[in-house]
Every structure is written in C-alpha cells, then in structure tokens.
C-alpha cells in the first residue's frame, strides 16, 4: 500500500452479464477525503461499479485499485468499507451483536473490537438500544446500524450504496451528519444515490453514469457550465389560457408552452424577460407568476441522459 496511491483508481473497467454490458470502459478516481457522488438511473451500472470496488464483481477488462491494492487482497479488505443498499444485518441479533460480528469479520478483536462497538453505538445513537433485537428497530435506525457495520473497522475508503433509501427526513439528516463526520476524519467516500439534492449537498464531485458509461464527471458547477453553459431557467405562469398566436410566438423563441405555463432557457435574462413580457402584453394575457432559476443538476442530468433520475 503506497501512501501516494489514490484511495480509488478505476481505469477502463468493463463488465458484462450474459451479453448485457453493465460497465463499458468506466474510468474515475477518488481523492483523499473526497466524496464522489455516483448518479445514474436504475440499471445504469452504479451497483455493478460499487460491487466491483467491493470485490464482489470480477471485471472483464480494465483495472481497479484501492490505495494501490487489488480489491481482493486482504489489505484492501481492511482499508475498504462497504455499506450495501439493503440493510444486510442479522435481524435476530442485537445491534451490539451485529457490530461484534462484522467487527470480527474485519479482523478486530479484544479491546479494539469492544472500543469499536462502543464508539459505533454512540455514533449512530443506538447505545440505549444496543441489546434489543435489530428487527425491532425503525427503518432509520437499521440504516444507521447498516452504516456502522460497514465502518466499525475505520476504513479509509467507504462505499455507500444509497444509504438513505426509504428513511424519513429526520433520519436522513442524521445520516448526512454521520457522512460529514466520516469525511472530516479523512475517509474517502464513493456515494451512490437517487437523490439529486443529496448529491448536490454532500458530494465534492459527481459522476453521472448511464448505460455503463461515465457521461460526465466534475463538480456541480463544472457539470452545469459544461452542459448548460450560463443559461438560466425562466418559468412564466399565465392567469388565463395562452391563445394560439402567442403560443406560436413563444415557441419560435424556443420556449416549451402549455395552456397556462411557459418554460424557456435564457442566456441574457434581463433582455429576454422584457421581450417575453412584451409579447404577453400585446396579446393581453396577464402574468400570474414569473420565476428565474439557475440551472440545476436535475437539468444537467435530464440534458445528458434524456431521462428523469427516478425513472
């Protein structure tokens, strides 16, 4: 294990299952202490990529190294943590017993193990329910325990596969705080999610994956600038149905128009808003509301994949 090696380095990774290409030449790197978000619709290849890093999928081509180590090496297992999408826990065991099990499986023993269990229980706020059966915990508690089971051995590289799926907003906030703590401890995270706002909020960089390929990679600002330039999204709501002549004029300006709403991407907001309002005035259509927004990751995603993220 080299000190200068990147936490994660993936080069031209390809994998197919029964003729279906799940990963198609994926390359990415993860820097120390960085959170790299992996965004993509269902079936895009996110889980295959994460499972490859977790050592559970053998790539057909390409290379993959964790801190310079082969993912199957024992040393790589020791520095890698994996929090799978499903709450992969023993439901009849208590949180303490679950943590003991996964701590032992990661090679902890004796005082180090006991200390790890105590620290983890405190960290996930389950110290007072440490001895209850896991099946009796709420969904959010199980999710937190799921994270603790993957981090009890203090990994340097952590794979988080949709860790907030199905949890209430309060639990989600708690998980965000836990992720922040991990990052502050210098852990590098590969974070897959369906939630755009999560990616925007937590991730230093975002990789958008579709059909097994990384189609965009960078900070949120870089992705927006590269994909949408400096354009902004303008929405105008009309009081009454927009008449056909106005619809035609608006369409000629590149706007998407329905009966009561106009959506258009604008480069020079001040000039173009005036032009559009003049058109409404000429046709005697009153405006109820007007909003101008900077481009979002959602729009970037839509622009790149042609799909909503949750499709």
């Amino acid at each position: 294990m080299s000190d200068r090696a990147l936490p994660l380095e993936v080069r031209n990774l390809s994998k197919s299952f029964g003729g279906r290409l799940a990963l198609d030449g994926v390359s990415l790197t993860l820097s120390p202490g960085e959170i790299l978000g992996l965004l993509g619709p269902n079936g895009a290849g996110k889980t295959t990529l994460v499972r490859s890093v977790a050592g559970r999928v053998m790539p057909d081509e390409g290379s993959l190294q964790i801190l310079g180590l082969d993912p199957a090496d024992d040393a790589a297992r020791a520095v890698r943590g994996w929090v799978p999408q499903e709450t992969a826990l023993y439901s009849l065991l208590s949180p303490r017993e679950n943590l003991w099990t996964f701590g032992r499986y990661q090679g902890l023993a004796g005082e180090a193990l006991e200390a790890g269990i105590a620290k983890s229980l405190e960290w996930i706020g389950l110290a007072d329910r440490a001895n209850e059966k896991t099946e009796r915990l709420s969904g959010g508690m199980k999710r937190r325990l799921n994270i603790a089971a993957g981090t009890i051995h203090s990994p340097r590289v952590l794979l988080l596969d949709e860790p907030t799926v199905g949890v209430d907003p309060q639990s989600r906030e708690r998980i965000y705080a836990m992720i922040g703590e991990l990052q502050s401890q210098g852990v590098s995270l590969l974070y897959t999610t369906h939630y755009m706002e999560e990616a925007e909020r937590l991730c230093d960089r975002i990789a958008i994956i579709d059909h097994g390929k990384i189609i965009a990679l960078g900070t949120k600002e870089e992705l927006v600038r590269r994909t949408l330039g400096s354009r902004q999204a303008l929405t105008i709501d009309a009081v009454s149905p927009i008449p056909p002549p106005l619809k035609e004029k608006l369409a000629r300006l590149g706007a998407a128009v329905d009966d009561l709403k106009v959506q258009v991407s604008v480069e020079d907001a001040a000039t173009q808003i005036r032009q559009l309002l003049d058109l409404f005035h000429e046709e005697r259509v009153s405006v109820r509301d007007l909003t101008l927004k900077s481009a979002t990751l959602e729009q970037v995603f839509l622009q790149l994949t042609g799909r909503e993220l949750r499709e």
Binding site: F17, G55, R56, V57, A88, Y90, Q106, A149
Partner: protein, 429 residues
C-alpha cells in the same frame, strides 16, 4: 379472496421451478424406493440369504452330507472359511474363529457341528446324550438364529433320514426286545432306500420323509446380548439420532440461503472472511450442535433406558464426532446446492428419508435383501449405525472403529469439497 390466497401460493411455487418439480417427483421417488424395499417382502424372504459360518468338528460322512444339504438351502449362505465366497478364502473356521466372527459382526450367526454328530445325530436312550449342535448368535439380528435352527432340523430330516432312522431302530432293537433276523434285514433294506432317496445337494428338492421337529439337539447361544441390559436402545439411539442430525443439519444449513437472500453473505465476502473460512465456520457450528444433540439423546437413553454410556464413553465420543461432522457437511452441501428454502426442504426430505430407509435408521439393514444392504453402505446412516453398534453392542476396542470413522471422515472431506466447489457461484460475479 380465499382463491386469491391459494393462487398466490401457486404462483410462488411455479416461479420456483426446482421446488415445483420436486413437489411432484418427491412422492413418486419415495414410493419407488419404499416399494423396492418393502413392497416385495415375500420375495425378500426368499432372496435374503443368511450368511452362516459352519464349523464341522465331526468331519464324518454324515456331517458332510448335512453341511452339503445346508448349502443347498436357498435361505442360507454357508461359509466354511472366512472369505469363502470371495477369491481368497482363509483357513476353515474353528469354533473360536466362528465365535470371533460373530462377536466382530462379520457374520450374525454360526453353527458348530460337534464330534460324534454323524454317528449319533439323535438318541432315544436314557443316559446317552445326543451330540448337541451349537448356534452362535448375535441377537442384534434375532431372525438369523431362528431361521438357522429351523433349517437345521429340516435338513437333518431330509439329508440324513437313514442316520436318524438307524438311531431309532437301534434304540428299538435294544429296548424293544431285539429284532428278528427278518426284521433286521428289512430294516437294512429300508435304510438303504432312505439313503438313496435322501436329499442331495445338487437336486435341491425335498425328499419324502417323516416330518419332525426338534429331533436334533440344537442349542442357541447369544454371544452378544447376554450381558446387555437393554440391547435395542443403542441401535435406536444411533439410527434415529443420525436421521435427526441430518434433518437438523439441513435445516441449520438453510441459514446460508437466508444469508444469500438478506445480503449478509455478500457483505461478509467483502470483509476478511473468505468463502472457505465461512464454510469451515459454519461446519464447526453445525458439527458442534450435532454433537451436543447426539450427546443429549444418548444421555437420555442412559438415564431412562439403561444405555451403558459411561462404560463406552471413548467409543461414543469418537463416533459422535465423526457422525456429527459427516451429517453437518451433508447439510452444508444441500444448502449450497439449493437456491431457495423451498428447494432445500424438498431435497432434504427426499434424500434424508431415502438414506435413512436404506441406511438402517428406520429398520435394520439385515432385514433387507443383500443388494439393498450393500447399497445402504453409500449412506452416512449405515456407517454411523455400524460404528455405534460396534461401540455399544459388540463392545469392540476403539481401533476397530477405523472403517466407520474413516468412511465418515472421508464423506466429510468429500462433501465439504463439493460444497466449496458449488459455493463458488456465490463467491464472485
């Protein structure tokens, strides 16, 4: 609504094709196996040949005729020397050899023909003892000595009626006031006729002659059961114990399938636990539980049914460890083969009940036709039961358990290797 519930279950079953097929194959397979074992019981009686070690201490013409007639009996397989039915027979059995063979379980019954038997097979004279034939028996097979005793009487009548008649006539001559020369001449003529028409080994037919029973003095000595307080308990504990262990191990092995379904297996395999370590850990747990289960069963047998556990502790421990390991790896193998719990239950039921029937857990193997007895040796049950029988019934020294222990440990290694190989499908995609 009720129909919807039923249909939902049917849909689940049809999606699990292996379980669906097994649901219909299972009863047919059971029927076939049990019909093969039980369904031809009359045929079985005819085809089951009881191996008998025969010691001819007399060596007379009459005793040889007697042995030859025993050989002609379809129900017996007469062995005058160990391995006689194989290519390299040993020395003819002595009384001690035969006794050792019975005690060792190589053979369940032996017949000793004493000196003087051919000369005076029966006696009607007070004060003159008939030579007594001895049946050396292992009463764990209670049928063999009874069959042999009956056939000895029958064969004596059919194979050597002249000798029996001569003894009778001589007694009449002595106590009935003597025969006239004419009567004596007639008697000799009739004895000659009887000799000529007595059963010959090659004919296999039954000669005409007076039916009688108990003319020959036969004593049956139970070599094994004389000192046992409750001879069948050890057999039952071993037989049922192994069957129970197999079911128990298959059920516990199913935890592996649950781990696949819950995702914990995937998670474990990303840690520092390899598939080999995981399987060995599971085996350690399963075998430990199985050993405790057997111990509890035998302890109960000892407390309630007088099983002599303390006296046979070493043998019991060896056999328990070997049996627990073999049964546990079988459970692991099933779990690695099956993809769902439903499949596991079906395959476990089919194979374990079949092994238990063939291997002697449900009824003793000596009741089965020879072919079936040999087939039984492919089962864990047969080796385990034989081993426990050696410990509790034959009270053999520890080292004589080696064939059973070797077989069970061999099965353990083989099944574990198979399970490991099959488990590769979970290892990496």
């Amino acid at each position: 609504m009720i129909l919807a519930v039923a249909r939902n279950r049917l849909m689940s079953l049809t999606h699990d094709r292996a379980a669906f097929v097994l649901a219909f194959v299972l009863p047919v397979a059971f029927f076939t196996i049990f019909a093969a074992i039980f369904g031809r019981s009359s045929e079985r009686t005819a085809t089951r040949r009881i191996p008998v070690a025969v010691v001819d201490e007399d060596g007379s013409e009459n005793s040889r005729r007697f042995v030859a007639a025993l050989r002609a009996e379809k129900g017996l397989r007469v062995l005058l020397a160990p391995g006689e039915d194989r290519k390299a027979p040993g020395q003819p059995y002595s009384r001690q050899d035969a006794e050792a063979a019975v005690r060792g379980g190589d053979i369940s019954v032996a017949l000793v023909i004493p000196r003087g038997f051919g000369e005076r097979p029966i006696s009607f004279e007070p004060g003159i003892e008939r030579p007594r034939l001895t049946i050396l028996a292992d009463s764990s097979d209670p049928i063999a000595p009874q069959v042999l005793a009956g056939l000895v009487q029958k064969v004596a009548m059919t194979a050597m009626p002249d000798a029996l008649a001569r003894s009778g006539m001589e007694a009449l001559d002595r106590f009935g006031g003597g025969l006239t020369p004419e009567q004596r001449s007639k008697m000799e003529e009739n004895l000659g006729w009887l000799r000529r028409h007595s059963q010959t080994p090659s004919s296999g037919s039954t000669a005409a002659g007076p039916a009688a029973s108990g003319l020959i003095d036969v004593e049956t000595r139970d070599l094994m059961g004389e000192t046992k307080s409750n001879p069948t308990v050890a057999f039952l504990a071993a037989g049922l114990g192994v069957m129970f262990l197999l079911f128990s191990a298959a059920g516990a092995g199913g935890a592996l399938i649950e781990e696949v379904e819950s995702g914990t297996l995937d998670r474990i395999l990303s840690t520092r636990v390899s598939m080999s370590k995981l399987l060995l850990g599971k085996l350690l747990y399963l075998a430990g539980i199985a050993a405790v289960q057997l111990t509890v069963m035998f302890l109960w047998g000892s407390l309630v049914f007088g099983l002599e556990l303390r006296k046979h502790l070493a043998g019991f421990t060896v056999m328990t460890v070997a049996t627990a390991l073999a049964c546990s790896t079988y459970g692991l193998l099933l779990a690695s083969i099956c993809r769902t719990r439903m499949q596991l239950v079906a395959v476990a039921n089919l194979t374990i009940l079949t092994m238990s029937a063939l291997g002697g857990s449900m009824f003793p193997r000596y009741l089965m036709p020879e072919g079936m007895q040999k087939a039984g040796l492919v089962t864990i049950n047969a080796w385990a039961i034989d081993g426990f029988q050696k410990v509790f019934w034959r009270e053999e020294p520890l080292w004589r358990l080696w064939p059973q222990v070797a077989a069970l440990l061999g099965v353990t290694v083989l099944l574990l290797a198979l399970a490991r190989r099959i488990a590769r499908r979970w290892e990496i995609a």
